[in-house]
Symmetry: C2
Subunit: 133 residues, 2 copies
């Protein structure tokens, strides 16, 4: 028996309005909004304004992280939503970001992160129980 620890969505958003992704305060509000909308648990958030254009930032979560890097001169934003503990929250956070930025085109990839035994000791519990019968 195995389980997957996390789900990671990588989204490249093209054709985003310059003004929506140029300033760090807007980019921060975007990610903070996504965390609230998806009911994720924020540990801390960190953002930086580039000159002349664009911003970068991450929110560390109990469930992993959300990050953004923007190139407003290209109308481009790179978004990562990587969460453990429920796929629904991952998709909800990305849904919020896409609805807010309204990109003309999205290139999205999904990666399952961390496939591990259900029992971390690696012991097959089902077989053990069977042996006792």
């Amino acid at each position: 028996m195995e389980k997957t620890l996390g789900l990671h969505i990588l989204a490249d958003l093209y054709g985003v309005d310059f003004e929506k992704i140029d300033h760090v305060e807007d980019v921060k509000a975007l990610l903070e909004g996504a965390v609230k909308y998806a009911n994720l648990s924020k540990l801390s958030s960190h953002f930086h304004q580039f000159n002349p254009h664009g911003a970068t930032g991450v929110i560390l979560l109990e469930e992993s992280h959300i990050s953004i890097h923007t190139w407003p001169e290209h109308g481009y934003a790179a978004i990562d939503v990587y969460t453990c503990g429920g796929k629904e929250k991952t998709f909800k956070a990305m849904e919020y970001i896409i609805k807010t930025l309204k990109p003309k085109r999205i290139d999205e990839k999904i990666a399952e992160r961390g496939v591990v035994p259900v029992n971390p000791e690696g012991v097959n519990i089902e077989k053990m129980q069977l042996a006792q019968v």
Copy 2:
């Protein structure tokens, strides 16, 4: 003419020694070491200790970010190295992390992030020059 803005390596490391990824100070030293080894430019770094086990953290870079999330009870660490401006640094940073953690198995994915026109205005410079001849 197009160019790719960034290269993103997602690495799931399995079979990592518990002690190497349990404490936030070790995890922080690992990522700080990778940034120095690859000659990347740190903006800021942020880490968090989980209880009873594991840590999470990110270093924001001029070139994007490096992140880590660990589950020492599974011998598992999720690493992201995402940089723009030169593929060599991306691979060097990941090389440092893998050499330090010595995982028994690696599941690695590589994503090119952000394919944009060389000229952000979308004007074909070659054609313009040709027209002037």
